[in-house]
């Protein structure tokens, strides 16, 4: 199947390995992510904090572009996913919003009818492609690897469109499909702190420390959100100071982990860009 694909801003810089591994993994599973031409920033959580209309109109521009492609719009970033999805939800809930959006997009020469279907990459892999197809593609079972499935917040909340919003398990199933074990983790949907790590560090640091502390005993953490990955990967030193214990755990994107099981090359996985070293993890893997 073919999808329109919006990687999102983080995947062009700090989460490049997510972008390359997502494209490669989906390709290996006989589907295709076709980048949406000239997509723009969805606004993350920032635009809604400064302007309601901007927070609707910016993702809506992408929806207007996607609508013209007649394909589902897939995004691999949880924040992009929620912002895009929310536009459709709001247009149904707030009739007066439609008129305003028409005026705003009209000023840019665009029109959105409300028909674009928004999907999270996790949804596409788990539900369209499916666990069986993933298991079949595995070249190297990741046996013995204890993996924390960390969903974060906006991956499944608040709408729970494709997975349980309280206790999601789509990622758990994919981790098992590639032969690894899921590490029991009650914190799988607790927030990583998002931007607090920058704006109110002492509070952000505590959230990150709690999540990393609870992952003790696992071999790696896996996520499908660039913000979660960044917070858990880049601040392990600070979390260690908060917890009073050593913290060194690789934090991979789900598609990087899948890529290891598919035996994809480093140019697709970019594991070398992860901050907490993955060398120990790679040594644990069985030869192909």
């Amino acid at each position: 199947m073919k999808y329109s694909y919006m990687p999102g801003c983080s995947l062009l810089s700090t989460a490049r390995g997510y972008d390359t591994s997502a494209r490669a993994v989906v390709r290996e599973l006989n589907s295709e992510l076709i980048e949406l031409e000239d997509w723009n920033c969805c606004g993350a959580n920032a635009l809604e904090s400064v302007s309601y209309l901007l927070s609707v109109a910016m993702p809506a521009r992408n929806l207007a572009l996607a609508e013209a492609t007649n394909r589902d719009l897939v995004t691999s970033c949880s924040s992009c996913f929620l912002n895009l999805f929310k536009v459709n939800h709001r247009l149904k809930r707030e009739p007066e919003l439609r008129k305003k959006l028409d005026a705003i997009l009209g000023a840019a020469g665009l029109k959105y009818q409300g028909k674009a279907r928004v999907r999270h990459l996790l949804d596409v892999i788990a539900n369209d492609i499916g666990v069986e197809a993933v298991a079949k593609r595995v070249d190297r079972k990741l046996s013995g690897l204890k993996v924390v499935p960390y969903y974060g917040c906006q991956t499944v909340r608040p709408y729970g469109e494709y997975d349980g919003p309280y206790l999601p398990n789509s990622m758990d199933k994919l981790i098992e499909a590639v032969g690894a074990e899921t590490h029991p983790y009650l914190w799988k949907t607790v927030c990583c702190g998002g931007v607090l790590m920058t704006t109110e560090k002492s509070i952000g640091r505590k959230l990150v420390a709690d999540l990393l502390g609870a992952a003790k005993g696992a071999d790696c953490i896996v996520t499908v959100c660039p913000m979660c990955q960044m917070n858990l990967d880049a601040y392990q030193g600070e979390a260690a100071a908060e917890l009073g214990m050593k913290v060194r755990i690789p934090v991979l994107f789900l598609t990087q982990l899948m890529g290891l099981a598919f035996n994809l090359p480093e140019k697709d996985l970019l594991l070398g860009q992860n901050i907490a070293s993955v060398r120990g993890l790679l040594r644990q893997l069985q030869p192909v």
Binding site: C9, S10, L12, S13, T14, A15, R16, D38, W39, N40, C41, G43, A44, N45, A46, L47, E48, S49, V50, S51, Y52, L53, L54, S55, A57, M58, R61, E94, K100, A103, I104, L105, A107, A108, G109, L110, C153, Q154, R157, P158, G160, Y166, T189, V190, C191, G193, G194, V195, L196, T198, T199, E200, K201, I203, L207, A234, L270, G272, Q273, I275
Partner: protein, 194 residues
């Protein structure tokens, strides 16, 4: 008294029912809050708030505008939607937190200006390029927020650069930047009317 508790002698002048009505997006639902506290119990940052989410809804119901808009509570909200998911009245808690951020800046009452400056720097960077440029965002933010800690981030920035995660040049703009500018201008025009 424990954190967040305060004794009020309420007078008519203090109650701004107009404020209660302004708090978007669903004031009718907000009025139905029964103070069960599920929102506060779900909130990972409630412990650091001047008023917990549950207390905040009550203050809004009462129309205590200054107490609400001058608090740090909604600035700490990360939009994790745990409260929204669990609220048994179906109140759009998270969206209300965002609305409070906007109102607080509009009234010049923001207590945590660092967050406000961050969001504004984000908005302006996206207007210039159509996409977010993380390096530009961080330098703009630290410049405007006049916040200590920039050094710590430049160290992180160095690590990210060494790993090949960020580059120092600004990166490409989207092609139809004119459409982004048209959207921003139209939004400004519509919002000025309100």
């Amino acid at each position: 008294m424990t954190q967040g508790q305060k004794v009020y002698e309420l007078t008519r002048d203090m109650l701004d029912h107009n404020f209660t009505a302004q708090v978007a997006p669903d004031r009718e639902k907000l009025q139905t809050c029964i103070q069960c506290g599920t929102c506060t119990a779900s909130c990972p940052v409630a412990y650091a708030m001047d008023y917990t989410p549950r207390q905040l809804w009550r203050l809004i119901q009462l129309g205590l505008k200054e107490e609400v808009l001058g608090s740090n509570s909604f600035w700490l909200c990360t939009a994790c939607y745990a409260c929204t998911l669990r609220c048994l009245r179906g109140i759009a808690c998270t969206e209300t937190m965002s609305a409070l951020k906007r109102m607080s800046v509009a009234e010049g009452m923001e207590k945590l200006s660092s967050s406000a400056r961050f969001y504004e720097a984000f908005r302006d960077t996206v207007r210039r390029h159509g996409r977010l440029h993380e390096v530009e965002l961080m330098t703009t933010y630290f410049g405007r927020a006049k916040k200590l800690g920039a050094l710590g981030y430049s160290r992180l920035g160095f690590t990210l650069w060494r790993k090949g995660k960020v580059s120092l040049d600004a990166g490409a703009n989207i092609k139809r930047l004119d459409q982004i500018e048209a959207i921003y201008r139209k939004v400004e025009e519509l919002e000025a009317k309100v």
